[in-house]
Structures are given as structure tokens and as C-alpha cells.
Amino acid sequence: VNKMDIPNDVLTDWDIVVIDDEPDSLEIAEIILDAYGANVHAASNGAEGLTMVRQVRPKFVISDISMPILDGWGFIYELKNDRTLMDIPAIALTAHAMVGDRERAIAAGFHNYLTKPLTADTFIQDLLLLLVDIPVLAGELNM
């Protein structure tokens, strides 16, 4: 997937919840996803994120791991143990690729993971590569 090939409306009208305790990182994600047409709902920790997910029932969730109050592990545990939410795909956001992170994230219930930094160059490509792997979402992409 080349960035140039990605239409600006690929995520039009998708509700996406992004959870991150770093305001800068959160805002960058919001701006980029917004640029492709998504309705981004931001939360600054896992607890807020859960409330938000229940409220808007997003297409998918992107969650940072290291956060105060309820971290990414706690969030995915709650999400996957709630019958009404367990079908919502979640993608982990890690600070820096560490050995075993991917396995650990998938074992905990995340669909996959993305590595920071989120940049305008690569974020949307990497995200779409993961989304095409999720059958319920792949068909709804505006591509």
C-alpha cells in the first residue's frame, strides 16, 4: 500500500476511539485519522477509553499501553471480558518495539500492534495493513 494511493475518505464516518495519556501523541493520531475522514474520540486513559467505547461503539480502538489509572493491559482485559464489547477490534500502540511485545499484545487480546512514533508518512499505511486483516472491517473500507 502506498500512501499516494490511499484516498482521503478511506475512513469516512468511522467512529474510532484513540486512548493515549500523552496529549501530543493523541492529537497527532486525531489529526491524521481526521484527515482520512474518521470521527475520532479521544481518551487519556483506559478507564476513560472504556466509557467512550460503551458510548460510541467504535469500529475499532487504538490504545497506548503505558497509562495511568487503567493501562492498556487492563483496558483490553475489561474489553474482552464484556460480552457487548468483545467483538470490537483493538490495536495496541507501543512506545518502542521490544522483544515479545507483539506476542504479549496478541495473547492479551489485541488484534495487533503499532509502534510509535505516529507519523503522517507511515501511520495510515501501517494501520490499513492491519485493518485489511480484520474481516468485519476490511469490506467496509472506502478503497
Partner: protein
């Protein structure tokens, strides 16, 4: 067999060995003493018996000889009588009354006619019608002066044994006496020798003439052909051991009565002769065994008290020490060699205890030092982790926002100049982020905090991922990219994909950076118990002098190269450190201006056979 014997006898124990040796020596000594003593005793006993027997034999011989002599005296006395028959008759009537040994007396003339005859029981000689034909008459009248005829042992009609003795008269006739062998039997019956000793008289041709048991004589017992008789006939005096005609094992002595063919046997049963010896043997045997047992008990008790018990205490002490009880001290009972050994043992244990205390102290010190080092290491690790987060977060923000501006997202507007400047900020933030990441990677390896995964992965799939990632960069510079996979390389091997990727992506990144035209090649090869990843390019190459230090941190070929190509100078250091941590090596070959080849050797750990089987099934 030897081992079995040793096991049964308990030879493996020193105590048993010493006691066994002592027992053997003591027992042998006792047996030798007992045998010597017994020999002396039985020799003395036999000598004593020999003396007694020879005395008894002499006595018996002289008694029998006396009897015969008295009869001879009668014979001669009657033979010298002169006068008429009536005179002779009255004389012989008187003699037969006087001498109970006489049963009958007959006096005949030269022609064999009876001149006078008398008898106690019945007439035997006098009734003979054929006196002339009788042995005694013919022998006596044959003119052999001085010889006395002694006839066979015969029985009267009352079954009383007798023997005829005859001699000449001075007038040319003959006197015959019938001797009462019961009287002779009474004579020998009176002879006593110990409990079983007996005497009897035998004529040299073998017939029994007198015995304490008259029945034997009556039954015509004959010793003819018996070895003791043969031996007795050879010499006038003989002694020997034999089984006698009564079937008894005896020691016998024989004497011939001078002037007759009568042999006196004196016999005593061998069992009586050796009885004392046997009693001595039994008593001595019992005494020997008692003495042996007593001595062994005493020796055992002493050995246990002096040697084995202290040794056992020492042994249990050693066991206790072996089990870690260094407080143990063995009691010292005596100041002998064992006492001194015990003292030395106790001293050794005290010393050991001191050493132990010293060692425990050292261990505590070392543990404290180790804890400190671990704390330091943990602090360093925490520091690294915090630093990586704290450094990256602002850099991520800078790169993120400049990237958004350059992509015109979020509705921002700016002019060309601003775009140029923002681009510089974005590029530099990327460089700085790369430097920070490299630096943190390197620090993590050096702090020993790099934890390697050990998971099955497909090297071919991994290589294709690298191809996707690097292919884009190669395309941008119009470079070719070749991927070669060795068919011998296993489908799945063990390793850490992330760490291997870090090494290979660094090498591939360098190859593209330093190559202006041509191509970059990646090749995966099987190499026995290793596998190789070869990255080659057609770039500028590395001058020989630089090959020595390109793997060091912050070293590039030279300063102009740094300005021209950028980069942190940490890439190859990371490559080498990661490869080494995985148990591998990195080598480089290069021709200046022609290109470079980096080869990474990694240990090859195949999928286990069972897993393969499992998948095939």
C-alpha cells in the same frame, strides 16, 4: 568365591579380621599344645600298661609253670617207687588224695600191664585195653630219657577237660597222670590285669588247655592258624595287638612254659589300655574349647574397649561432621594413640568450623556486593527505560507535528520558505530519533538487558519482509535488490526475529546508503550447524585501514563520509553486539570502489524431529 567368603566372614571389617586372625592363631596354638600333651599322656599310659601286662604275663607263666612242675615232681616221685603193686597202689591212692590236680594215676610195667591205678572221677587210662597202642605209652617207653609226654586236651564222660602227662619208671615201665585242666583253669582265672585282662593256656598246636571259662576248653577251642599263635610259636616271648579268638581287639603277651609246648597268653582289651588316653582327649578337648572361648571373650572385650569403640566413636563423629554438624567433638577417653588421633580430629573439626565461619562471612560480603551490583544494574536499566521514554516522547511530537504540517493535514497553510524550514526540522528530528534509538539499543546490549526470544520462525518469510521494507528504499535510489534463498535452509528454525531483523536491516540500510548505482543483494545460506546472512552491495567500499574500526561506536570511515552520508555511527556496533549476543559473528570483505560484503554467521538450531513428525501427521 573369595568375595563371597570374605562377605560371609565379614572380612571387610577390621574388627572381624583382627579377631579372626587372633582366633586362628590361638586355636592353632591350643591344638598343638593339646596334641603334644595327649601324645605324652598316652605314651606314658601305654608304657605303664606294658609294664603291668608283662608283670601279669610273668605271673601267669610262673603259675602255670608251677602247676606243671608240681605234676612233673609227682611223675618223677612215682616213677622212682620200687616194690610190689600193693605198695605202689597205696602210695598213689595217697597222692591222688593229696593233689587235687590229679584225676587219675596209672602205673604200668614195660609190657603195658597195669601195676597200680587210682582215680577221682572215673577210670579212663586204666580202662584202656590198648595201653600199648596209646601215644603216652609208646612215647614214654621209646627210651627218650628225661622227656615228659603231654597229651591232647580231652574230655571225660562228665565233660571235664583233662590232659595226659606221662613219664618212665626206673624199672622200665611208665607212669601216666590225668591232669585236671579245670584246676589249671582256676590257676589262670585268678590272674587279674585291669578290668578286662585275662590269661589262658594253649598247646603249641592250637588247642586251648586252660581258661578262666571252662566251657571254652570243653568246646575244643583251637587257635590253629591264628596269627597271634603263629607269632607266639616263633619265639618264647611275644607281645602284639590283634583281634583275639573271642573277637576282641586286644594287646596280648605270650610266654612258652620251658620244657613243654604250652603257651600262656595274657590279653587285655585295647579299649581299656587307651581308655585313660581317650578320657584325657575328651577332657583336654573340653578344656581347650573353654579356654579358647574364654580367651576370645576377654580379647574381644579388651579390643572393643581399647580400639574398636573409640574408632566407632571417631567414625560417628566423622559422619556427623560430614552431615554438617561442625559443633561435634569426640570424647577423649584415654591418652593413647587413638586418644591423640581423636584430639587431632577434634582440632581439625574446630579448624573446619573456623573456616566455615570465615567462608560464611565471605559469602555474606559477596552476596551484599552482588545485591549492590544487581541494584546498580536495575537502576541502570530503569534509567535506560525512563530515558528512552522521556527522550522519545518530545521527539515523537516534533516529528509527528512537522510531518502533519508537511502533509497539509489539519488545514495548515504556509509558504515555500516555511515548508523548507519545516522539512529541515522534520529530517533532523528523524535523525535525532534514530540516534536515540540506536544509542538505547546499544546501551541495552551492553547492560546485558537484551533478552532474546527463542521461537520458531521461517527465515524465508522473514527475508521477504525485509525485502518489502528495503525494496522501497532501493527503488527510490534506482538500485536493484536481489534475494537468494538456499533450498537447504530448514523451513523453520529457532531464534529471535526482532534481533536478527535489527542486524540485517542495519546492514541493508547501510548498503543502500553507500551505493549510488548497481544493486544490493541479500542471500540466506545453510552452513552446517550455522546459517549465513550475506549482504553485499556495489557501493563505495571500505578502505583497508577502516575495516578494523568500523564496528566501534561513533566510528565512520572518516569525517567527510559522516558529513556526506550522515548516520549515527552506531549501526555497525549494534550489528556486531547483537550478533555476538545471539552467539554469532560478523565479517566484512570489501574492494574500495567495488563494493562491500557483510556476512553474519548465526548458530542454526533446527526444529526438533518430534515437532516435524507431529506436523507431518
Amino acid at each position: 568365591v573369595k568375595r563371597l567368603a570374605m562377605k560371609l566372614l565379614g572380612i571387610s571389617s577390621l574388627q572381624r579380621r583382627i579377631l579372626l586372625l587372633l582366633a586362628v592363631v590361638l586355636f592353632t596354638t591350643l591344638v598343638i599344645i593339646a596334641i603334644t600333651f595327649l601324645t605324652v599322656v598316652s605314651n606314658a599310659e601305654r608304657d605303664a600298661w606294658e609294664g603291668r601286662q608283662s608283670e601279669a604275663a610273668r605271673n601267669a607263666t610262673s603259675q602255670v609253670a608251677n602247676f606243671i612242675e608240681r605234676m612233673k615232681v609227682e611223675l618223677e616221685f612215682i616213677g622212682q617207687l620200687a616194690g610190689d603193686s600193693a605198695e605202689i597202689q597205696s602210695l598213689i591212692d595217697d597222692r591222688i588224695k593229696q593233689n587235687p590236680g590229679l584225676l587219675e594215676i596209672v602205673v604200668v610195667d614195660r609190657s603195658g600191664a597195669i601195676l597200680a591205678a587210682t582215680y577221682h572221677d572215673e577210670p579212663v587210662l586204666a580202662r584202656l585195653l590198648t595201653i600199648r597202642q596209646s601215644n603216652w605209652f609208646q612215647t614214654t617207653t621209646a627210651g627218650n630219657e628225661g622227656t615228659v609226654y603231654l597229651g591232647e586236651v580231652q574230655l571225660s564222660s562228665q565233660n571235664e577237660p583233662y590232659m595226659i602227662m606221662a613219664g618212665p619208671t626206673h624199672f622200665g615201665g611208665a607212669v601216666a597222670l590225668r591232669l585236671n585242666l579245670i584246676m589249671l583253669g582256676n590257676v589262670v582265672a585268678d590272674i587279674r590285669l585291669g578290668e578286662t585282662g585275662t590269661a589262658f593256656v594253649v598247646k603249641s598246636e592250637g588247642s586251648l588247655a586252660a581258661d578262666s571259662d571252662p566251657g571254652a576248653v570243653v568246646n575244643y577251642v583251637n587257635l590253629a592258624g591264628r596269627p597271634e599263635l603263629e607269632a607266639a610259636r616263633q619265639t618264647s616271648k611275644w607281645t602284639g595287638a590283634y583281634t583275639n579268638f573271642r573277637g576282641k581287639q586286644v594287646i596280648g603277651t605270650t610266654n612258652t612254659i620251658p620244657g613243654t609246648d604250652l603257651i600262656v597268653f595274657t590279653e587285655v582289651e585295647e579299649s581299656e589300655v587307651y581308655a585313660a588316653g581317650h578320657r584325657a582327649l575328651v577332657q583336654l578337648g573340653i578344656m581347650t574349647i573353654l579356654f579358647f572361648d574364654g580367651t576370645m571373650v576377654v580379647v574381644t572385650v579388651f579390643l572393643r574397649r581399647l580400639l574398636f569403640n573409640p574408632l566407632e566413636r571417631l567414625q560417628s563423629g566423622a559422619r556427623a561432621v560430614e552431615k554438617g554438624n561442625l559443633e561435634f567433638q569426640v570424647d577423649i577417653v584415654r591418652q593413647d594413640e587413638i586418644g591423640r588421633l581423636t584430639e587431632a580430629f577434634n582440632a581439625m573439626v574446630r579448624r573446619l568450623k573456623a573456616h566455615d565461619a570465615e567462608r560464611d562471612h565471605l559469602i555474606q560480603d559477596l552476596q551484599a556486593a552482588k545485591r549492590l551490583a544487581e541494584d546498580n544494574s536495575r537502576l541502570k536499566s530503569e534509567f535506560l527505560s525512563t530515558m528512552s521514554h522521556e527522550l522519545r516522547t518530545p521527539m515523537n511530537a516534533i516529528e509527528g507535528f512537522t510531518g502533519i504540517m508537511l502533509s497539509r493535514m489539519g488545514g495548515v497553510e504556509f509558504n515555500n520558505k516555511a515548508e523548507r524550514y519545516i522539512t529541515r526540522v522534520n529530517v533532523n528530528s528523524k535523525r535525532l530519533l534514530q540516534l536515540i534509538n540506536d544509542f538505547l539499543d546499544l546501551s541495552r546490549v551492553e547492560a546485558g538487558r537484551l533478552e532474546l526470544a527463542h521461537q520458531l520462525f521461517s527465515p524465508a518469510d522473514l527475508a521477504r519482509r525485509w525485502q518489502t521494507e528495503i525494496g522501497v528504499l532501493a527503488e527510490k535510489k534506482n538500485l536493484g535488490f536481489d534475494l537468494t534463498l538456499d533450498p537447504d535452509l530448514p523451513d523453520l528454525i529457532y531464534g529471535d526475529e526482532e534481533a536478527i531483523s535489527k542486524v540485517v536491516l542495519n546492514l541493508l540500510g547501510n548498503a543502500i546508503k553507500f551505493t549510488e548505482q548497481g544493486k544490493v543483494s541479500l542471500s540466506l545460506q545453510n552452513d552446517g550447524d550455522q546459517w549465513r546472512i550475506v549482504v553485499s552491495d556495489t557501493g563505495i567500499g571500505i578502505p583497508p585501514h577502516a575495516r578494523e574500526y568500523i564496528f566501534e561506536e561513533f566510528r565512520q570511515v572518516d569525517q567527510s563520509s559522516r558529513r556526506k552520508y550522515g548516520g549515527s555511527g552506531l549501526g555497525l556496533a549494534i550489528v556486531q553486539k547483537y550478533a555476538r549476543t545471539m552467539g554469532g559473528t560478523v565479517t566484512v570483505q570489501s574492494d574500495l570502489g567495488q563494493g562491500s560484503t557483510f556476512t553474519v554467521f548465526l548458530p542454526l538450531e533446527r526444529e526438533h524431529e518430534l515437532e516435524t513428525l507431529g506436523r507431518v501427521v
